[in-house]
């Protein structure tokens, strides 16, 4: 049972993902943009983060970098869409542990989370 931070500006996706995570009996907290994500990470210290890339205020890549600066051991999994290869590459280079491509299946999310938490 882990505490997982879901960051995505679409509430619909947050609901979807949190349902997937509930199956793994995880506790879920949410943020809808990069700025809030960083704040929530600092105050809540989740065990893992699922981070969308395209968001208002601050995008996922920037938030990832800030979080990794704050916590070099942060376990962040990026949620990406097709066509964001170079951003994903940059994210991995900046410390992301894994990525999942939308639209994603529950298996892929659970696999990524399980591996990240290992």
């Amino acid at each position: 049972m882990a505490k997982i931070l879901i960051v995505d500006d679409a509430e619909f996706l947050r609901v979807r993902i949190s349902k997937m995570l509930a199956d793994g009996n995880h506790q879920v907290i949410e943020a809808d943009n990069g700025v809030k994500a960083v704040k929530m990470y600092q105050s809540n210290r989740p065990d893992a983060v699922l981070m969308d890339i395209t968001m208002p205020e601050m995008d996922g890549l920037t938030a990832l970098k800030k979080i990794c600066l704050f916590d070099p051991n942060a376990r962040v999994v990026m949620l990406t869409a097709l066509g964001q290869e170079s951003v994903v590459l940059e994210a991995i280079r900046s410390g992301a542990k894994d990525f999942v491509v939308k639209p994603f299946h529950p298996e892929r999310v659970m696999e990524a989370i399980t591996k990240a938490l290992a």
Partner: protein, 693 residues
């Protein structure tokens, strides 16, 4: 029940609400973009809206919506990266796609597929996207980004690439050792990355990082520079010097997803497939908790249903009625038990409850209020479409969009406004040539304003077009037998222009396919009156036309003036009351057989409220004076003669119910503080009754 799309019942509303928000952002944004030109922030916001919408559509498995939105996203991406330029044809296609996406959105709402074929539109969007692709740089290859920290471990001090190792010999001569020598003790690793990976280069990079963490990577193919171009990578061949065991190496590598096969030193490592076994939702709740552990976002706003708000409003209404009754009771008690301590206590409590009820009512009303921007924000697009179809140049100016109205009013007000705007574009604003000839600016302007005024909302729709041809309106009305010719002649211009609200009147020579036959105006008036509002028109030949709509702030509760007529009590909406007079009967004159009174500088026609409703005259004879309530509706003002004024009261409007049906002159009933029932006067309807007598 199985839904067509991969969407649970509780997710449906969220999906639709967010989809609508994104569609609205796109709609407004595109129109603004076309008008105002390049705006990086706006472009980013629109792009994000399309991107997120596509993501959600993909999650519910709506293929056509996903594909179409994706094509739109690409066009917007092109705009964002400056490889495409904003042009009217481009915006046209984009707006058309939005309309189609809205239809697809409805498929989700109704859980039914439409027969819509999105392929033609897709083709046009794709063509747009490719149109200037030739001028864009090759998308995938990018110059290698600056060296990151993790790479430095790979580089030898002399900066040579990793697969070539150099050693300094004593003589300072650099010897290049064969790769094989340097690789002595190195382990050969070969990895296949899943061919359907969306970012295989990132996987390759993960593999590189993993190997670097295990030891010294002396060989890596494809080289890092190639990986950093983000081009797809299918196969990795590497050699690493490490003290770790094969198990440790494979464990590290297999932690990376999307690896199809792994070979270490020629040995194929079996890859255990990740097993996902979702617990069925009917399983016993974990931790004794019925709900799964989602802690929703701490938001500063609350979402609730409109039904709940309506319930709240009803309850407040009941409370107000009871408050009125309590006030009445308090007066009675105080009169009867003057000075009694307990009665005083009760009285004070009642006053307090009254105050709280007032505040509660205000708060509930505020919760129900929405800025009229919710209605207005659809109009720039509407005006754009209408003016293009009519081949005219029209600009829409909006003021006061922050003005708030009750939700129930907002729901109904957009139809009449659309009619008025349509008429302005179609009949009001002149074609370019005519405007230029008249010395007017090429662009016609429609101004839409909203403001508060003493418990009412005033909305105006004004254009600087040709104005309404009053003579033609008169002629048309006469020709259609809506008014007699002699009556038509007697009408002042202000009265004549009101004829446009008559049903069956249309001065358009031919049916314009956008606004139809002009049957809208009578319906516009009816719909607004149903909201207890009114609409009037003013026009100036050659200069323009202005429509003014007046609406009450709320539909359910009104301030009223209570009057007694015979044995009945009536409530006249205070918003319609201009003034109250007490006049001597001797001052009443007759004009054309109808009683009137001179008030300051104008003539006020009089009508007995009793007679208007057809009561037998119950007024006591011998009275020298009569109470008159001057009531105004639109441009008409009438002095209603009543027996007695009972004072102001805020009342809750109760519908008369189906048994009574539509009663002329009465719009509802209210329960007064003393328990009596007062009938609420429907002023426009009453005026019609008076006019007919």
């Amino acid at each position: 029940m199985e839904l067509l799309f991969d969407l649970a019942e509780d997710e449906l509303q969220i999906f639709l609400a967010e989809a609508d928000e994104h569609l609205q952002t796109l709609d407004e944004g595109l129109v603004r973009l076309e008008r105002e030109g390049e705006d990086a922030e706006l472009l980013q916001a629109i792009f994000r809206a399309a991107h997120t919408l596509k993501g959600s559509a993909a999650m519910i498995g709506h293929k056509r919506m996903t594909d179409l939105t994706h094509a739109l996203e690409n066009v917007l991406d092109g705009l964002r990266k400056n490889s495409l330029a904003i042009s009217t044809p481009l915006v046209d296609v984009c707006l058309e796609s939005l309309d189609v996406i809205k239809i697809l959105r409805n498929e989700v709402a109704e859980d039914a597929l439409s027969s819509l074929d999105v392929d033609p539109l897709m083709a046009r969007l794709l063509a747009l996207g490719e149109g200037l692709a030739a001028s864009a740089s090759v998308p995938v290859t990018q110059p290698p980004p600056p060296v990151a920290q993790t790479i430095s471990r790979n580089r030898k001090k002399n900066g040579k690439p990793p697969h070539q190792v150099e050693l300094k010999t004593k003589g300072g001569k650099r010897l290049r050792l064969a790769a094989a020598l340097a690789d002595r003790g190195a382990i050969a690793i070969s990895v296949d990355i899943a061919s359907n990976s969306a970012a295989s280069a990132a996987r390759a990079f993960q593999i590189l990082l993993a190997l670097q963490a295990l030891g010294k990577v002396c060989d890596f193919d494809p080289p890092q520079a190639v990986i950093e171009t983000a081009a797809p990578v299918n196969h990795i061949k590497a050699r690493v010097v490490t003290s770790k065991s094969k198990d440790e190496i494979s464990k590290a590598l297999l932690n990376i997803s999307e690896i199809d096969s792994l070979t270490i030193e020629g040995e194929t490592i079996p890859i255990a497939k990740f097993v996902y076994a979702p617990t069925p939702h009917s399983a016993a709740p974990k931790n004794g908790n019925a709900e799964h552990a989602r802690v929703p976002l701490v938001e500063k706003t609350v979402r609730t249903s409109i039904g709940r708000l309506d319930n709240l409003m009803n309850l407040v209404g009941e409370l107000i009625t009871d408050r009125n009754r309590l006030f009445q009771a308090r007066t009675d008690f105080e009169r009867r038990f003057c000075g009694d301590g307990q009665v005083d206590n009760l009285a004070q409590t009642i006053v307090h409850v009254g105050r709280i009820t007032d505040q509660l009512q205000e708060e509930v009303m505020r919760i129900r209020m929405l800025p009229i921007a919710n209605v207005f924000n659809k109009f720039p697009r509407l005006v754009r479409d209408l003016s293009r179809k009519a081949d005219k140049q029209v600009e829409l100016v909006i003021k006061g969009e922050g003005t708030e109205l009750d939700r129930s009013v907002i729901e109904v007000i957009d139809d009449p406004l659309i009619h008025l705007i349509r008429n302005s574009v179609d009949h009001g604003i002149e074609p370019l040539a005519a405007r230029v000839a008249a010395g007017k600016p090429e662009r016609g302007t429609i101004t839409l304003t909203a403001r508060h005024e003493e418990g009412r909302i005033i909305i105006t729709v004004e254009d600087d077009g040709r104005g309404i041809d009053v003579e033609r309106v008169k002629a048309g009305a006469v020709q259609k037998n809506l008014i007699g010719e002699d009556d038509a002649v007697k009408l002042s211009p202000e009265e004549a222009v009101e004829l446009i609200f008559l049903a069956g009147l249309s001065t358009a020579n031919k049916v314009s396919d956008v606004s139809g036959r002009g049957v809208g105006m009578d319906i516009v008036r009816t719909n607004i009156e149903r909201l207890n509002g009114n609409v009037t028109v003013e026009t100036w030949s050659g200069r323009g036309t202005r429509f003014q709509i007046v609406l009450p702030l709320t539909l359910a509760i009104i301030q009223s003036l209570l009057v007694e007529v015979g044995r009945g009590t009536f409530a006249i909406p205070l918003a319609t009351v201009m003034e109250i007079l007490r006049i001597p009967l001797s001052a009443i004159r007759t004009v054309r057989g109808k009683p009137v009174i001179k008030v300051r500088d104008h003539i006020l026609p009089l009508a007995g409220l009793s007679q208007a409703f057809g009561f037998t005259n119950g007024k006591a004879s011998g009275a020298t004076h009569v109470q008159v309530v001057a009531v105004k509706w639109g441009k008409l003002e009438v002095g209603l003669m009543v027996d007695e004024l009972l004072g102001n009261q805020e009342v809750v409007i109760k519908p008369l119910g189906v048994l009574m049906g539509e009663t002329p002159g009465v719009s509802g009933a209210a329960i007064l503080g003393d328990g009596r029932v007062a009938l609420i006067v429907d002023v426009p309807s009453l005026f019609k009754m008076i006019g007919a007598q």
